[in-house]
Amino acid sequence: MEILVCVKRVPDTAENEISVGAGGSDISRDDLVYAVNEWDNYAVEEAIQIAEREGGNVTVVALGEPEIEEVVRREMAMGAGSGLMVVDPAMDGSDGLGVATVLQAVAQKAKYDLIMTGAQAEDGAAQVGGMLAALLDWPYASLVNKIEVKEGSLRIGREIEGGAQEVSDIDTPCVLSIQTGINEPRYVGLRGIRKVASVEIPVLDAAALALKPGTTGPAAAKVKRVDYFVPAAGAGAEMLTGSTEELAAQLVDLLRQNGGLN
C-alpha cells in the first residue's frame, strides 16, 4: 500500500511560552522551538504500522520554509521510506484551500492508495484534509482512530461526540484525517535522525508541481487573518475554601449543578 502522509511543522506548544507579536496578527516567533504537529505524528506512525503489516511505502510531505526539513527527517527516522518538501516563497500566506491545492498536485505526481493528514494542526483550522479529498474527488473520513486494511477498502473507526465509536468501510484511494490516540508513536532519538541525515529529500516548487499561477499564495487566499489576541481574563473565578474533603465535596456539587457530571 502506497501511503502519503501530510505533515506540518508547528511551534511546539508544550515547549514555548506563546504570546501575541507586536503586529497583532501573529504570535511572537522569537525564541520559539518547532516540532512536527502532534496529530501528524500519529498519522505517520499509523502509516508506518500499515506498511509494516501490509507492505508498501510511506512518503511524508511537508510544505513551508526550508526548515521543514527538520520534521520531514524526523518522520523519516521514524520509518517513513521517503520524504518530499514543497518550498516556494510564493506559497507563503496561502489559506487552507491554497495548501490543499498544493497537496493535491503532490498527490497526483504519484499513485497513492491512501493519504493521511492529522485531524488538525496545533496552529491550524482542521480544514486541509477535507479540502484535499474534495479536490481529488476521493472519499474522506475525519477523526479516524482505527484502521483495518481490507481488499480495495479500509474498515475505519471514528471517534464521535461523547466517546462513542462509529465503524465504516471506505473505498480506497481515500483521504483520512487521524485523531491522536490511534496508536503510540515510536520514539525518535538523535541517532535515528543522524541515520537519515544524508538521505536526499526532493524539494519541489510551484513550477515543479505545475501549479497554475494564482491558485496558491496570499493573492489566492480567500480567508485572511485579521486579528490575534489573548482574551482578557474574565471575572467569575470562584475560590473554594475548606479542608481537602470539603473542597472535594464542593467541587463535586458545583460540577453536578453545572452539568459536568451525569
Binding site: 508544550a14 511560552e17 532519538g189
Partner: protein
C-alpha cells in the same frame, strides 16, 4: 598406625575391579563436566567485549574481601553466617574431595604437601569441617523447607518455586559429608589403635562400626566410597545447570566485578564517542549484545533474593525484580546454548524475555548492586537494554515529551533557556547573580542543573546555596542560558546521543567560563560531572563546601529556633551509594546546635531507600502499589523524625509530595540540606 586392610581400589563391586570403576567414574564425570562447560563458555566468547583484565591488584583485593572474606554476607545475619560456615567448610573439604578421587584407584594417596604434619592437622580440620558442615546443611534445609523466608518466593508468572532445587543440592551435600565420614569411620574401625577426631561424624561411625568384621567393613568402605564418588561427580555436573553454578563462577565474578561506582558503561567498549555513529546497533537487543561479564553475572546468581529484597521498585510492586533480570537471563542463555539438543529460538530480549515496563521501572539507585554478595551488576544491563529500546523507538509516551524538550531547550520541561538563571532574583533584594557568558568571571562555578533552575519550589535550593556561598565568601558564578541539563538522567534513560550532545555543550561552556572548580547542589549533576564527563575542573557537592566553611570558621550556624523537632537524613542515591558521601552531610546537620537527629535504622547510608526520582522516573508513570517516597516517609516517621533532610531536588520534590499523599501535612516536613543550613546562618 597400620593402614587399613582394604581400599576401594582393591575392592571389587559387582565383579568389576574397584580401581577400574573408580577410574571410569571420574573420567566420565570430568568429560561430561567439560562438555557442559564448553556450552557455558560459548556465549561468553560471542558476547560483547569488556576489558576487565586491568587493575589486577585491585581485583585481587576484591577477591580477598568479597569472595574469600565473604564481606557482604553478614548484611543478612543468619543466612550470611550460615553461608560463611558452608563456604569455609567447602574450601577445607575441597582438598579432601580431590584426595578422595585418587583414593579410588590408588591404595594410598596424599596431595602434594599433605604427607606430613600438615596432613595430620588437615585430617583433623576436615573431620570437624565435615561435621560442622552437616549441621549447617540441616539448619539451611530447615530454613529453605520449613521457615521459607519471603525473599525466596517466586512470584507468579516468573516460573516455578526454587525450593526443590535448593533442597536437592543440600541433600547432595549431606550425602557427600555422610559418605565421606562413613568411609573414614570404616577405616578407623578396621585400624587397631586408631583415634578419630573427637565429636565428629567420623568418630560416630568408628564407634558404631566397632566389632564389625573386616570383610564387612571393607564392603561398607567400598560402598561409602562409591556413593561419595558418584554423588560428587553428579553434583559437579549439576553445578553448571542451575543456581549452584556460583560455586564455580563466584571467584571469577568477584574478580571481574565493577571497580568504580557512579559510572555507566560506554555503548560498546573500545568504541569512543566519535565512533558511536559507526555502530550499526545500539544497546542490548539480543543475548549476545550483553558483555561477557553480564552473562557471567547470569551464571553467578545464587538466587539469594537480596537484590530484590532491597530494590525499591520491587518493594512498591513495580514489575521489576532484579533477581529475575538475572534468573530469566540465565535461563535464556541456557536455552540458547544447550549442551545437548536444539537451541531455543533467538527471540528479542524485550518482549521475549523482559518487558518494557520492567526495564523502565528501575531508578538506577544501585541498592541491588550494593547488596549482591557476588558482585552482580544491574545498572549497566538496564541502561544497555534501554539503549536498545530507545533505538527501536520503544519509549513510553510520558517520557517522549521530556526527551524532546531536553533536545530542544536543554531541560525536560521545555522552559526558555533565557530564564535558566531567573532564580537569582530571589536570593536577596537587589541581588545580582554572576553569569558566565555575560562577562562575569569567578573561580567557582555553581552548576545548578535543570530541576533546581526551573522548578518554583526547587529554586529555593539554588537561592539557599547562593546565600551559603556568599556567607562563606565564595566568589561564584553560574552558566545561565549556556547551562544545559547535565544529561545524567538522559544517559541512564538510554539516550546516549542526546547525552553526548548535552555533555559537549556543557563541557564547552564550563571550559569557556575559566572556572577553577565546580560546585553543585544536585547529586545527579554531581555524579554526571564527576563520573560521566571528562576534562573538567574538580567537582564538589555543596555539602563538602559547607563542611569546609564550618571548619575554617567562615560559616557559623545558629541554634535551632524550635529544638523540639527531630530530624533524619535521607541519603540521595547519587550522593551516597554512587559517590560514598554519607558522613559529610550528616556532619553538617549535626553542626547545628540543638538539633536532634535520628537514623532510619537499617534503611540509611548504603541501604538508603530511593525516593523514586532517579533515571527520569520523575516523568515515568509506572504501575505500582504505592510511591517509593510514601514508603520512605513512613520509614522516617517510624524512626521518630518529623523533618526529613535531604540533599537532592529529586528527593525533596518526592518527599514533599509523599508527605501530602500520606496525609502527614503539618506533622512532617522535608527540607534540603542547603535550606536548613542557610536558615541557621
Amino acid at each position: 598406625m597400620d593402614p587399613a586392610p582394604f581400599s576401594p581400589a582393591s575392592a571389587s563391586l559387582a565383579g568389576i575391579p574397584g580401581w577400574l570403576l573408580f577410574l571410569l567414574i571420574p573420567l566420565a564425570g570430568l568429560a561430561w563436566f567439560a562438555w557442559l562447560m564448553v556450552a557455558r563458555v560459548k556465549p561468553l566468547l560471542r558476547a560483547a567485549p569488556d576489558p576487565r583484565f586491568r587493575d589486577v591488584p585491585k581485583r585481587v583485593l576484591l577477591v580477598i574481601k568479597i569472595w574469600l572474606g565473604q564481606w557482604r554476607q553478614p548484611r543478612y545475619m543468619l543466612a550470611g553466617v550460615l553461608h560463611i560456615l558452608l563456604f569455609y567448610c567447602f574450601l577445607v573439604l575441597g582438598i579432601r574431595t580431590s584426595q578422595m578421587v585418587f583414593l579410588g584407584f590408588m591404595k594410598s594417596f596424599d596431595l602434594p604437601g599433605f604427607g606430613g604434619s600438615l596432613g595430620t592437622f588437615y585430617n583433623i580440620s576436615k573431620d570437624f569441617a565435615g561435621t560442622l558442615c552437616l549441621l549447617t546443611v540441616v539448619v539451611l534445609a530447615w530454613r529453605r523447607g520449613i521457615v521459607k523466608p519471603a525473599r525466596y518466593a517466586v512470584p507468579p508468572g516468573l516460573g516455578k518455586d526454587h525450593t526443590a532445587e535448593a533442597l536437592q543440592v543440600l541433600g547432595l551435600i549431606a550425602l557427600l559429608l555422610v559418605s565421606e565420614s562413613l568411609f573414614e569411620g570404616s577405616i578407623l574401625a578396621a585400624t587397631p589403635g586408631a583415634t578419630a577426631t573427637p565429636m565428629t561424624m567420623a568418630q560416630l561411625f568408628q564407634v558404631c562400626l566397632a566389632g564389625t568384621s573386616i570383610t564387612a567393613l571393607g564392603r561398607i568402605n567400598a560402598v561409602a566410597y562409591a556413593i561419595h564418588d558418584l554423588t560428587f561427580f553428579y553434583f559437579l555436573c549439576l553445578l553448571p545447570r542451575g543456581k549452584h553454578f556460583h560455586v564455580i563462577t563466584s571467584l571469577f565474578n568477584v574478580f571481574f566485578m565493577r571497580l568504580k561506582p557512579g559510572v555507566v558503561k560506554p555503548v560498546r567498549h573500545g568504541v569512543d564517542e566519535k565512533g558511536l555513529d559507526e555502530l550499526t546497533s545500539f544497546g542490548v537487543k539480543k543475548l549476545e549484545d550483553f558483555t561477557w561479564k553480564h552473562i557471567l553475572d547470569f551464571y553467578s546468581c545464587a538466587d539469594c533474593g537480596r537484590c530484590s529484597d532491597q530494590c525499591p521498585a520491587n518493594r512498591v510492586k513495580r514489575p521489576l525484580s532484579p533477581r529475575f533480570i538475572t534468573i530469566k537471563g540465565r535461563d535464556h542463555t541456557f536455552k540458547r546454548y544447550p549442551p545437548t539438543g536444539e537451541p531455543s529460538p533467538d527471540v528479542p530480549l524485550i518482549g521475549g524475555i523482559y518487558s518494557e515496563d520492567e526495564i523502565w521501572s528501575c531508578t538506577t539507585c544501585g541498592a541491588c548492586e550494593q547488596e549482591c554478595p557476588l558482585g552482580i551488576e544491574y545498572i549497566d544491563k538496564i541502561v544497555d537494554l534501554r539503549r536498545g529500546m530507545v533505538e527501536e523507538g520503544m519509549v513510553p509516551q510520558t517520557l517522549q515529551k521530556p526527551m524532546s524538550a531536553l533536545e530542544k531547550r536543554g531541560n525536560p520541561w521545555g522552559k526558555m533557556e533565557k530564564k535558566r538563571a531567573d532564580w537569582g532574583a530571589g536570593v536577596a533584594e537587589g541581588y545580582k547573580l554572576k553569569v558566565a557568558g555575560q562577562g562575569d568571571t569567578a573561580p567557582t562555578l555553581y552548576f545548578v542543573d535543570s530541576m533546581t533552575s526551573y522548578d518554583d519550589r526547587m529554586q529555593k535550593i539554588a537561592q539557599a546555596t547562593a546565600r551559603i556561598f556568599n556567607r562563606a565568601e565564595v566568589d561564584f558564578m553560574v552558566l545561565g542560558k549556556d547551562e544545559k541539563d547535565s544529561g545524567h538522567e538522559v544517559r541512564r534513560f538510554g539516550e546516549e546521543m542526546l547525552f553526548q550532545s548535552l555533555k559537549q555543550q556543557n563541557t564547552e561552556a564550563i571550559l569557556e567560563s575559566k572556572a577553577s572548580r565546580i560546585v553543585t547542589s544536585d547529586p545527579h549533576a554531581y555524579n554526571a560531572l564527576k563520573n560521566d564527563y571528562t576534562g573538567l575542573p574538580p567537582v564538589t557537592h555543596v555539602s563538602e563546601l559547607i563542611a569546609a566553611g564550618l571548619e575554617n570558621g567562615k560559616l557559623k550556624l545558629q541554634p535551632l529556633a524550635d529544638p523540639t523537632r527531630t530530624y533524619t537524613y535521607h541519603d540521595p542515591c547519587y550522593l551516597g551509594r554512587h559517590n560514598g558521601l554519607y558522613d559529610v552531610p550528616r556532619q553538617v546537620i549535626d553542626a547545628i546546635p540543638g538539633l536532634k537527629r535520628v537514623e532510619m535504622d537499617g534503611k540509611c547510608r548504603d541501604r538508603g531507600f530511593c525516593c523514586g526520582g532517579g533515571g527520569l522516573n520523575l516523568f515515568y508513570e509506572p504501575t505500582e502499589e504505592q510511591r517509593m517516597s510514601v514508603l520512605r516517609v513512613g520509614m522516617a516517621k517510624e524512626a521518630g523524625a518529623n523533618v526529613i533532610v535531604t540533599a537532592c531536588p529529586f528527593c525533596l520534590t518526592n518527599m514533599e509530595d509523599a508527605i501530602k499523599v500520606a496525609g502527614l501535612e503539618g506533622q512532617m516536613e522535608a527540607i534540603d540540606l542547603c535550606e536548613l543550613v542557610a536558615g541557621q546562618l
